[in-house]
Structures are given as C-alpha cells and as structure tokens.
Symmetry: C2
Subunit: 334 residues, 2 copies
C-alpha cells in the first residue's frame, strides 16, 4: 500500500497562529528540553565529542506533496540527517527543526510532519529539542542533527580510506531513485514493486550501524545521498585513492530489473546515479562488520588494473576495473 | 552611512554550481572541521553541557533585499542565534548554515552572506562548521548555533524568574523597530538617526554578556526578539510571576523620540512592541551585573500594586504598575 498526498483542508497555520503551531509540533514530538531560547543537552559520556550536521528540504525541489505524505517526509528528513551522524561513526542525540510554510497551509500538514519526525527520532531514543516556525512562500524545512562521538577512535571521515581496504555497504542501493521514477510515472505501481516507492518516501536507516563499523575498525564512511558513484567518488578523491566496485555486488536486484523493464530504464542508472538511499558506505581492513556487505576495494590512486585513469571520466571510481557508464550525481543548482 | 541592496549581476549560483558555492562559503567563513558528512566538535571543558538553537530567515518575511546588504544579513543571522545561546548563560561554539536560493541568484550574494556570517562568528572565536545549500523559490536560510554551558550552575531559563528579583537589560530597546520603519519609509535618513537603521540591519551583541549574568547570579534570561513586552511576558508567564517595568528605565531616548517625530509614530510603540534588538533581559537578586542596567522588578503573580490583573490585558507585565498601551508581538503566521 502506498500513501500519498498532503492535507487539503482543516484549520490553517494562519488561523491557529504561531503559538498553537509550536504546541502541536511539541505535542507530536515531545521533549522536556524544548521550549526555551535554546535547548540544553547532556553529553552521554564525559569524553565524548559533539557531532553536528544540517540539511534543507525544499518543496518542489526535494519532494512533491503528491508523491509522499507529510508523515513520511518528516521521517525522511530525520533519516537524511541521522545518516550523516552515523556516517561519522557517531550516535544521534537530538534534532532541531526550522520550518517555513504559507499561512494558508493546513495545520495538519505540520502536525503530521512533526509526528513523522517524532516517530523516527523515537527509534533512536532521541528528541526534537528545538526549532523555529515561520511563514514563507513555500514549504522549506531544515533539520539539524546533533550526535555524540564516544571513545578515543577517530571519526569516520571522507579522507580516511586507505589502499588495501574493503569497501562495505549497509542497505539498499538504487531503490530510492527507482521508487521516485515509479511514483513520478503516475502509474498504478505493482504491489511487488512497492518496496521501491517506500524506499523513496521513507528510506530505512538502522540505528547504530555507523558505530558498529567504527568499532570494527572502519576508517572512512559516507552515505549515498547524492548518488552512489558521486558519493563514493568524493570519498575516493578526499582520501587520495581509487575505488573499484564489484559489479556483481552492486548489480540491480530482481525488483530494480523489473521496475527498469516497466519504465524502460536501465536499472544500472538507478544504482550508479540514484541518491537518497542513505545507505552507509565505508572502508576498512578485512571482513565486513555485522549488517554490512563487501562491495569493492580501495586502491592506490595510480591505477594498476589497466588503462583506466581518473581523468578519463572525472571520478576515481571504477566498476570491475572499467569506467562506469553512469556517473552523474545530484547538483543543487542545476 | 547606510548601505543597502543585494548584488544584481555577476555569475549566478546555477552557473558556478553547487561545489563552487560550497567552496565560496567555506572560503568566506573557514573552518577545519567543515566539509565532511558532519562536523566533529570538541567540548571546551569536560563537565560542560551542549546548548543548541535554530532560526529561519525568509526573504520578504524577515528581510527585504533593498533594505539591507547580504553581508549585514549574514551578521544578523548569527546574532539572532547567538543571542539565544547567550540567553541561556552559555558560550557560543559553532554555527551551521542551511541555505536555499534561486539558481539565478548572483553567487556574490551567497559569498557576501557567508562573509557576514564569518565576521560575526569571528567576534566569538567560533566557526561555521557545516551546512547545506540548495535551489529554492526564494532566499531562505536557517542557522543553527551550538554553545557550551560550563560549570554547575543551572542554565538561565524562561522559568527562572522569582519574586523580589531585579529585571536587568543589556543593550538597546526599540532601536531595531525604529530603524526598520525609517528604512521602509524610503526617505533620506538623517545622519544622526543612522544608528537606528544600523541596529535593524545588524544588531550588536556583546560576546559573553550572558555568561557574565549567569556568573553574577541571574536565574532567568531571554532576548527581545519578538517584542519587549511579548518576550518579557513569556518569561513572566513561564516563571509564574508578574513583571513591572520602570517607565523611566525603558523610555524612548533622544534618537527614538526624534525618529518618532519624523515618522509620526509614538516611539513607545517601538520600545514595547519592537523586536530584533536581541537585547538580553534577565532577572537576578540584587545589583545589575557589569554591562546591564535595571529596568524593572519581579513580583508575585497576584498583583499587589493596584487593580492591574493579568487577565485585563493578556500578559503579566505592567509599566509603573499600569497596563501597557502597546503589547503586540511578532506573529509568524499573521
């Protein structure tokens, strides 16, 4: 079953007013530390470091209100921020929400977004600790996530990949992009392909997988938010390495192949260029940690596997040693 | 001298692309911890607590591009967030920026905003540690500020005011509102009134004043962002007290009176209803701390000074024992 659509009626933000809007958000996603000028958080352990990240979501740019629901949008907004916290090997602690929408927006839209935010935050035992609401031309929200990096190991950075390591991934690759194209096609989506639409509307992130990878010795990590090859390419560039992905480890699965046939799209495009799966991708020496699978290997920057060079196709990533066919990533101002 | 206006030409965000936009922001407001999935921060002392707040700024709602400059807008965006950190008695540590604007926006607009942000962050020895940029219908930015609350004293909350305390203020009251009306009037602003316009374009916040008040024994604090009586009213309500302000301590000064005469406005309106001065207002037993001045007193909720009751005018705040004439505050969805 696929739910789509935003509330169309009921009292509006302008009718209920700012105080009631804020109250409805706090009710839907409660926290004892929300409601003052700023939220005071207690670090979970004395030697932990703070980690912070932010993402902005713009209606018409990052989502269409006819292709998702406000509840699922709220969940997804948290996932995309918490994935960035996990990708440092850290543990999410709290989130803040900035929100603007026209005064004519049904108040239920905001309540549902806040419910979705609260539901996802709950999975982590975390809370919405602060925010700001305001009128604006269209729906724009910005979530900031704060996390905690415990212990003495370094964070998992984009620059931490080293030649000889294994590339590992946790979660689906290409599902979100395929799901979006299915939803955009305006067709009745076959029941067996619904997991693709769900992956787009509300990608799944397993709490703690970034910390697991860090404990297992991972040294670099990111999530595929802008496209697999784009994001792996950034990691390879920052680390000064070349990454070779194994075709049979990332090959489109049955669902992606079926969706590709239905829409007349090469499913490899979704795998290579699709973002928003928020699948964690890291590198480490040796075996893949629990929940992760190997998808490639890290090499020295000067290729030794043949004629492939970085300059030939822009990013230092190959698939089975060859230049990939699809390398585009998300570009914010295109 | 009053500067106004945004860049009108030069390369656009769409022309230079996301990577170059991000680079220009990081160059204008540099930080060694910016640029990964999330920023890792070191707490300044082992027993400190994190403090976080966020604010959203929408073009046409919170600012007009013909009444300010992108540099001043960047500074102000930091001040309004850092004032919330100071209002907890905490020390600002870092900021994150989410930013959306049409692809046709001159790239110089973003660079100038980032320069303003960097200039203000610099005053605190703090850095822009992360962010997100995206295309959108209009310019919307959200700043999140992170601070540190050291030591064992409790934070300065909205609920901390107690009967018998003195109300103290640090900074101007009413200047920003008067400055906005002068700028909106489209007149040539007399040179002696320029400080009012500057207060609107870029309010001043003295680093450390919140910590000073906390050290001096303040128990509650806020800043006048939405209007003096509104914000003091929220503090009084949350604390379960009534606050009486001294008319001669908050009376419009020479500049406000002169601006009122010029525009035909009662300057008391700017004092009572004007926000965005981001002046810290707190309560404590005894003398005003360095940099603060007494502006009123805290009383038990049942008024003992006469016939004034909360119900009569909505908020538990009086001026010299009387119901104030101007009590409106900023309403986000009006």
């Amino acid at each position: 079953m696929i739910n789509t659509g935003f509330p169309l009626d009921g009292p509006t933000l302008g009718e209920i007013g700012e105080d009631a809007v804020i109250r409805s958000i706090i009710e839907a996603s409660p926290s004892a530390v929300n409601g003052d000028d700023a939220a005071v958080l207690h670090p979970p352990s004395p030697n932990s470091r703070m980690v912070a990240t932010t993402d902005m979501i713009v209606e018409g740019r990052h989502f269409r209100s006819d292709l998702t629901t406000p509840f699922l949008l709220g969940r997804k907004a948290v996932v995309q921020n918490y994935a960035d916290i996990e990708a440092m090997g850290a543990r999410p602690l709290a989130a803040l929400l900035s929100f603007s929408a026209p005064s004519t927006t049904p108040a239920a839209t905001v309540t549902e977004i806040a419910r979705g935010i609260g539901a996802e935050l709950d999975k982590y035992g975390t809370e919405l600790v602060g925010g700001d609401v305001t009128a604006g031309q269209n729906l724009v929200m910005s979530i900031t996530a704060i996390g905690s990096l415990g212990g003495n190991r370094p964070p998992l950075t984009l620059a931490g990949a080293r030649a000889g390591q294994t590339v590992v991934a946790h979660g689906r690759i290409g599902y979100s992009a395929a799901g979006l194209e299915l939803l955009e096609a305006g067709i009745t989506i076959p029941e067996e392909l619904e997991p693709l639409a769900h992956a787009y509307q509300s990608p799944e992130l397993t709490p703690g997988c970034g910390m697991v990878a860090r404990s297992a010795g991972a040294t670099s990590m990111t999530d595929n938010s802008d496209g697999l090859l784009h994001d792996v390419g950034v990691l390879a560039q920052r680390s000064g390495v070349r990454i070779d992905l194994r075709a049979n480890a990332i090959a489109p699965d049955k669902l992606l192949v079926q969706a590709g046939e239905l829409l007349g799209v090469d499913p490899w495009k979704w795998v290579c260029e699709g973002g928003e799966d928020h699948t964690l991708i890291g590198t480490l020496q040796g075996e893949a940690p629990v929940g992760f699978r190997p998808i490639g290997t890290v090499h020295k920057p000067s290729s030794e596997t043949g004629s492939v060079t970085t300059a030939a196709f822009g990013i230092p990533v190959t698939i089975d040693g060859n230049a990939p066919q699809y390398t585009r990533g998300w570009e914010s101002f295109s």
